[in-house]
């Protein structure tokens, strides 16, 4: 069975239909880049997958959990499907270590010393071992985003969702975050990432999904899709972002 399955999902905000029937499957270990114009529904789709938004129709199954069931265990789902946001969203009142330990203790029920060990390990993985006791406002945007990735990784999710996680960063800080992403990718994590970094999509993703006006307009192998777009919409989108 596929790790993620979306069957004809529809999402409205008020009268506006934002997702107009999306179907896709994601296999374990797959890395999918989601691209498309602003407002095409990329974030909404990701948010539906981890239950931050409710769909009006269709079915979503993630790692065996039926997200769209009325009594879905969303907290369990979110342990399996980690999410990192554009705006980092670290907890400003907690230092790096405690940001990471919080959910380990409350959700995964680790004791303090075990949680501390995990925190140290994931922070080392993103290259910030020396910042374990720093507060978020003492870190650069790139460092905060790396901590956010570490915080999500610490939960040992089976799937990670990344929503434009480099878009709020100064250009010189984008590279360090992408390198961390590459590291996560190389360990076999299943990833779905909304991105405007076309080179990253081409080189790291297995597959590209192009969203247009609430629908999946193209879906195919990364290189092929980006180098030889089949539709005029994707061609014009790529022209706009590359030039």
């Amino acid at each position: 069975m596929s790790l993620v399955e979306l069957v004809d999902i529809r999402k409205r905000f008020g009268a506006v239909e934002v997702l107009k029937g999306i179907s896709l499957t994601l296999e374990k270990g797959e890395i999918v880049a989601v691209i498309g114009r602003s407002g095409s529904g990329k974030s909404t789709m990701l948010r539906c997958i981890n239950g931050l938004e409710k769909v009006q129709a269709g079915r979503i199954v993630v790692d065996g959990i039926d997200v769209t069931a009325p009594k879905a265990d969303l907290n369990l789902l979110r342990q399996r499907a980690g999410m990192v946001f554009q705006s980092y969203n670290l907890f400003p009142h907690l230092n790096v270590e405690r940001n990471i330990m919080l959910a380990l203790k409350l959700v995964r029920k680790l004791d303090t010393s075990a949680a501390r060990e995990v925190a140290r390990a994931v922070v080392t993985k993103v290259g910030l071992a020396d910042k374990l006791h720093a507060y978020p406002d003492e870190l650069s945007g790139g460092q905060q985003q790396r901590v956010a990735i570490a915080r999500s990784l610490a939960m040992q999710p089976t799937l990670m969702l990344f929503d434009e996680i480099t878009s709020a960063l100064d250009p010189e800080l984008v590279g360090e975050v992408l390198r961390v992403l590459e590291g996560v990718a190389s360990e076999g994590m299943t990833m779905m990432l909304v991105t405007h970094e076309m080179n990253f999509a081409k080189n790291v993703a297995d597959r590209v999904i192009f969203m247009h006006e609430g629908r999946i307009h193209e879906d195919g192998p990364a290189r092929e899709t980006l180098l030889e777009p089949r539709t005029a919409e994707l061609r014009s989108f790529l022209n706009a972002v590359l030039h």
Binding site: Q79, S87, F91
Partner: protein
């Protein structure tokens, strides 16, 4: 018999200031508990209760505290409930404080970004865990400055209860001033005592903010 303003009078004023403090403290506790209810009613998504809370806030913030004091002190006996000056003072200051605390705390709670709720949710935290470990700690830090700011107002406003004859610092000053005909030193002493109380409160706030790592 006119006498000099003496050391004993200063002691008397300081003792009267205890009533000022006790009244402010009572209103803080009473108004604080009621303020939590007001804040909660304001944020829960059930309109009639929100309207009730809004009406409460507008009624209290839109009328003078002195008027509220008079309503309790002179009004309650008219309906057969006898109240002494302390009860009327404590009751009306608590009610007065509840409206302000309610608004301050609601504002602090709502000023924590929706994204913080989402970040907690994305990690699998339950609603209660998000509230207790992510949002409330931040809201409390945000609320320290305005809460203490209001406490300072509250301490000063206890002086209005002198007008219903409650002997706190201001009423005590009036009494001594009447006996010594030396209003200036008396009221200066009172002013210094008010200042010490209020200044200590704001220093306490600064200390708390530093200790709790308030987000910038």
């Amino acid at each position: 018999m006119i006498r000099e303003f003496a050391g004993a009078d200063i002691i008397y004023l300081i003792e009267a200031a205890r009533w000022t403090l006790l009244l402010a403290l009572t209103a803080t506790v009473g108004g604080g508990l009621l303020g939590i209810v007001v804040a909660v009613l304001r944020v829960i998504p059930f309109r009639p209760l929100s309207w009730l809370a809004i009406a409460w806030i507008n009624l209290i913030q839109g009328t003078p505290l002195l008027g509220q004091l008079f309503v309790f002190f002179f009004g309650l006996p008219l309906v057969g409930l006898s109240v002494d000056a302390w009860t009327a003072a404590a009751l009306s200051l608590s009610i007065y404080a509840s409206a302000f605390f309610g608004e301050i705390w609601r504002g602090s709670l709502q000023s924590v970004s929706q994204r913080q709720w989402e970040a907690g949710a994305a990690l699998g935290l339950t609603y209660a865990q998000r509230l207790g470990h992510v949002v409330l700690p931040q809201a409390i830090r945000i609320s320290i400055a305005p809460t203490v700011g209001f406490l300072v107002q509250l301490v000063k406003n206890t002086s209005l209860t002198a007008l219903i004859g409650f002997v706190e610092l201001t009423r005590a000053s009036q009494i001594i001033s009447g006996a010594t005909f030396a209003p200036l030193p008396v009221y200066l002493t009172a002013a210094v005592i008010y200042f010490v109380i209020c200044f200590s409160l704001s220093q306490l706030a600064h200390m708390l903010e530093r200790r709790l790592h308030v987000a910038r």
